[in-house]
Symmetry: C2
């Protein structure tokens, strides 16, 4: 083959190359080794022709399967998987910047870990079942209880504070048929052992850092921040027994989705007076800290925590991302302090993420009374938002080299060439069948190969291969050990 | 603070630093903002002191939970997670070198996908149950059926060949109580659409590449290779109906674990003659290709495939890693051609990985008749082996910088410093509580921090921080924007 000069002439070279190798037919590789059975098997006294009859595996009866994944679940074909890998990589990179360590737990846990009596949606929609040994188990609906379990298990063997993160699939079982998904992935970051709101400030900043990495700004997204202590103060005003606290929170979390009359009915049914309900509704409508201070007084923890959080946000430099909004309650019963959720400012989507302080969760599980806070960040809403904003990256399958033996006999040498390149860290697509050169060019385009390495007989006899740069269109013959 | 000269004096500096900051007591950060409640809540006509009574969350009753993960499952605390991440990174890196694309499927699939009638262990130990909608579902025992399902679903929209890999958790339910695990992670690599053994050669080479990356040599591990076509030829010799093929394979796969009399009993019960069993046993004992050729004749596919595979292995340069061993059958009914398994040469462990050709699986699922092969590589045996060989890496949590505010008031500035460093890509542990300097040094050691950044009042007033290199023990004051 002629080595063309730099630049231009790609189409011409290509046509020429196609001409040169036209005679190589698309022969299936193994056909070369298949021959007629010439003699009978030496095993049996009553021999039968070994070539006759159906092949192995044909005994299996065809059972046409549903090609879709189970209702509410997803496959991740390569395109979707690349996107997921990209998103998870961003989660992990932020976690690294914030010095969090990754952990994981079984996707299947004891049902008891998730059973709380506060009437949370998460518990009502638990994907639980009985295993073959009669044990109640559940596909986890969230990661926090498993994390709490592991912290208790580790006990004194770990030094506080812990900064742990996890990325895991979470499940729910909805009886409705609205086509909502039954699984999603969630990124969790948790700080165990820090009582002050500096922890919440750090957590929210980690999410801000993620948002920025993804190309989102404070005009795209923000955080609504409140504290469960606000509600607690109100409940105390009306002498509402503290054992109703979780339940009240779970009910009023639905305020924006459910008619007020419904909320009132539910609260009344657990014994909350109409006066207290009025007080709750009044507090929940507050959108500024001075208003809150006026209502609750400056002295309580609720106002103090929030004030301090906003001071820290200012100093971190993300105060334009957050604001106080008393209507944020979050639907999990176990939060005890600051609660927050990330939202899109256009208001089209559900919460992007949510979290808060859960200082009592470990002790309710029988562990030590260790303060903790954390957040969950799902993979669904963020992808919707990035799509809306045109911020999803174009991710394609790319390889460095495609290696093509021009001849059946050259499969081995081509494998050797591929191996040499892989040892140098290059990703190599080795063509494993006898294909036409035309197909190889098309395939190289499909997989975004940078170079095509042709292993041809005459070059190979000189220990060389033809290397074609598929973007500059340059070609040259190189010795195998010269390949970089 | 005095800036010490380069070199030495670490302990002295440290003692001094401890002295200097001794007065900073371990005050919990938020205590500073907690004050006595001074006035009553403005909400209620009948006010109650807001500071009184139990805090939020204390309503939750303590339900002591089992701190262990469900029987047969694992948590991944940071140490174990680092090891898993390291192993998976190696899987992914090999997949990248071989130009495979990552895919994933739901961990929960329709039970029907895994139900085969050949009596496989994998089907008998299926972790299946009925969901709340009455559907039979299963936690996947393996990844290949899901992959086949996805390939069929994609149909003509994808170009063959496909080179796909997946890393996923697989489950089984064993009734025995031997303490064997119910889940493991499996790395799968599959080539869809290539009929010839060049595909198997490439797959085995990808595993060899992994072994080498992990520090294993051909004297540590190897591959036993055979072909299901060997057994098929024998069955044909004895006119055994081809619908028994899968079942026979599954039974004789147990040859090394179950007494021969048991195997004979099972084979007899499905109608295999004693003469045929003798023939099978004879073939299974073969360890060389010439012997096989003598027995079956050179003409059949079995011998031809194997010969070609060994030629390719020679050319790839990994022939010392593989040998023919007719006793390798593999326990999955769907294999039709080459089968192989990776083993440790000391013979202490179960198979490290296994795979083969399954040309009929897609058509038995109702898809087109597309040739395919692949392997599964679990996370358990390889870790055991690497541990035995002393090849497990020492993986520790490391961070670049630890940032410590010497004063409560400096939490915000410290956050700003942390943020500056993180913007430069450094992983930063920000101390979120008021701790003693002694604790901070100990903590820095625990998390393998390279530098300690002290944010002190006097330096901060000059816009500076003290930077201590924890390995060279050098210290200097730097402007925040000079920090690298």
């Amino acid at each position: 083959m002629r080595v063309p000069r730099r630049g231009g002439k790609y189409e011409e070279d290509r046509r020429e190359a196609v001409e040169i190798f036209k005679e190589v037919e698309c022969v299936v590789f193994e056909q070369d080794t298949k021959k007629e059975v010439g003699r009978s098997c030496a095993l049996s006294a009553s021999p039968h022709a070994a070539g006759a009859g159906p092949g192995p595996g044909e005994n299996q009866t065809t059972a046409i399967i549903d090609v879709n994944p189970p209702r509410g679940t997803r496959d991740f074909p390569p395109d979707d998987m690349r996107l997921r890998t990209w998103l998870f990589h961003n989660f992990r990179e932020v976690a690294r910047l914030f010095a969090f360590e990754e952990v994981d737990f079984p996707v299947l846990e004891s049902e008891a870990l998730f059973i709380r009596k506060a009437g949370e949606e998460i518990t009502e929609q638990l994907y639980s079942f009985e295993d073959k040994g009669g044990r109640r188990v559940a596909l986890r609906p969230e990661l926090t209880p498993s994390l709490a379990r592991l912290v208790i298990q580790k006990g004194k063997s770990v030094s506080l504070p812990l900064k742990w993160f996890a990325i895991g699939q979470c499940w729910r079982y909805e009886r409705t048929t609205r086509g909502r998904r039954r699984e999603h992935y969630q990124w969790n970051m948790d700080i165990i052992g820090v009582p002050g709101v500096a922890a919440e400030a750090e957590l929210i900043f980690s999410i801000v850092t993620l948002f920025k990495r993804l190309g989102l700004t404070a005009s795209d997204v923000g955080f609504k921040v409140s504290s469960r202590k606000v509600l607690q103060a109100v409940l105390q005003c009306y002498s509402i027994p503290e054992n109703l606290f979780g339940e009240v929170c779970v009910i009023i979390d639905k305020m924006e989705k459910v008619p007020l009359s419904e909320i009132e009915k539910k609260l009344t049914s657990i014994g909350i007076s109409l006066e207290a309900i009025k007080g709750l509704v009044q507090v929940l409508s507050l959108k500024s800290l001075p208003q809150l201070e006026e209502l609750l007084g400056a002295a309580g923890d609720a106002v103090a925590d929030l004030k301090q959080l906003f001071i820290l946000a200012e100093q971190y430099g993300y105060s334009q991302w957050i604001h106080f909004d008393a209507s944020v309650v979050r639907g999990l019963a176990y939060y005890t302090g600051i609660v927050f959720e990330g939202f899109d400012r256009q208001g089209n989507l559900r919460a992007i993420c949510g979290g808060g302080r859960y200082d009592k969760l470990l002790s309710t599980f029988g562990g030590d009374d260790i303060p903790a806070c954390g957040f969950g960040f799902g993979d669904a809403v963020i992808i919707e938002l990035l799509k809306d904003k045109g911020l999803l990256p174009m991710l394609t399958h790319t390889v460095d080299d495609i290696v093509f033996p021009l001849d059946l006999e050259l499969q081995g040498p081509a494998a050797m060439v591929a191996s040499t390149l892989r040892q140098k860290g290059r990703s190599v697509e080795l063509v494993l069948e006898n294909k036409r050169l035309k197909w190889v060019f098309k395939h190289a385009e499909r997989i975004n190969a940078s170079r095509l390495i042709l292993v041809g007989d005459s070059e190979w006899q000189r220990g060389m291969v033809r290397v074609k740069n598929l973007s500059t269109r340059e070609e040259q013959d190189l010795k195998v050990d010269e390949l970089e």
